[in-house]
């Protein structure tokens, strides 16, 4: 029942293998490229995830003398090997200044509609309030549309009211409650 079929998975793998997987955003401060993350980006992505009031307690970025936790590398390998998951970075001048994850979820609901989910959105402090987050989400929406999705969804912590208004300005509607149940002992 769980046997993998030979058929290609429609969606993100196609986007990844397509002719133009990268996208460039011209900004006052220079060009920002949107592209799939590579393994060498992982420490910078984790640093971005941690550079946030809520993220600071959740992540363990590379310290002065430490290597990055193996769990990050393993998770990155799993994402990279999954045609329905992508970690994206926004790169400016060779530096990672933004990130998000895009997941395609097939399902029976709404006429067998494919949905896209956005997680882990972060913009570097140096690049906030300059339209980069807006461009990243618009880019993600375009990727979802190209993959055949009928819906883009995400959840946003109620402790970040600015973020919720930001998504509403992009056309998202806060129609749902986002419920979470932690299975970990450490604070989440």
């Amino acid at each position: 029942m769980s046997e993998r079929r030979g058929a290609a998975v429609p969606g993100l793998s196609g986007a990844r293998e397509g002719a133009a997987p990268e996208s460039a955003l011209e900004r006052a401060g220079g060009t920002v490229i949107f592209r799939d993350a590579v393994r060498g980006d992982v420490p910078a992505i984790v640093a971005l995830l941690a550079d946030d009031a809520l993220g600071a307690g959740r992540e363990a970025p590379v310290g002065a003398e430490g290597d990055l936790d193996d769990a990050y590398w393993s998770a990155f390998d799993q994402v990279q090997a999954d045609p329905r998951n992508r970690v994206i970075v926004a790169a400016a001048g060779g530096r990672v200044v933004g990130t998000l994850q895009l997941t395609l979820i097939p399902g029976l609901s709404r006429h067998g509609m494919l949905r896209a989910q956005v997680e882990g959105v972060r913009v570097a402090a140096s690049h906030r309030a300059q339209g980069l987050g807006h461009a990243m989400i618009e880019w993600a929406i375009a990727q979802a549309r190209a993959a055949g999705c009928g819906l883009v969804q995400l959840t946003s912590d109620k402790q970040r009211p600015g973020a919720i208004r930001f998504y509403e300005s992009l056309g998202f509607a806060a129609t749902h409650e986002g419920l979470k149940l932690s299975l970990e002992r450490r604070p989440s």
Copy 2:
């Protein structure tokens, strides 16, 4: 970059192939079995998705003279071929009386934590208010824990306040806004 590695995907595929993929719930009205959906269950699952005030406008169950929309079959095949997605049914006396979808999402956030997402939860009108929904979600949580997840998440429409209280009674916290952006022309 998108090349599939040979490594096995940890998670739901293991649960599917395990020795005891089914689970039985003894209830006053008889035994309810939780199992992975098979293709023959699809019409009954779609009928459940449609049997709901919000779902009625979104789905096209099999009518008196009609076959089920191809999109449902195609979506089911995609779920079934994906080791990180499962559609589950609760079956009582050979009849599908409940359904949910479980998706595993690998990602870098929270120390590379694997998360489980629940979508498309429905219980047949004949079996509501008898603890079946509660047992289904507890079963899903146990599956998520067995797959190594640190978090279970779902969104619930604000038009279903009873559902939100139901999830809170199971330990979920409504810490997030659930934001959706429809890419379709038909009402969602």
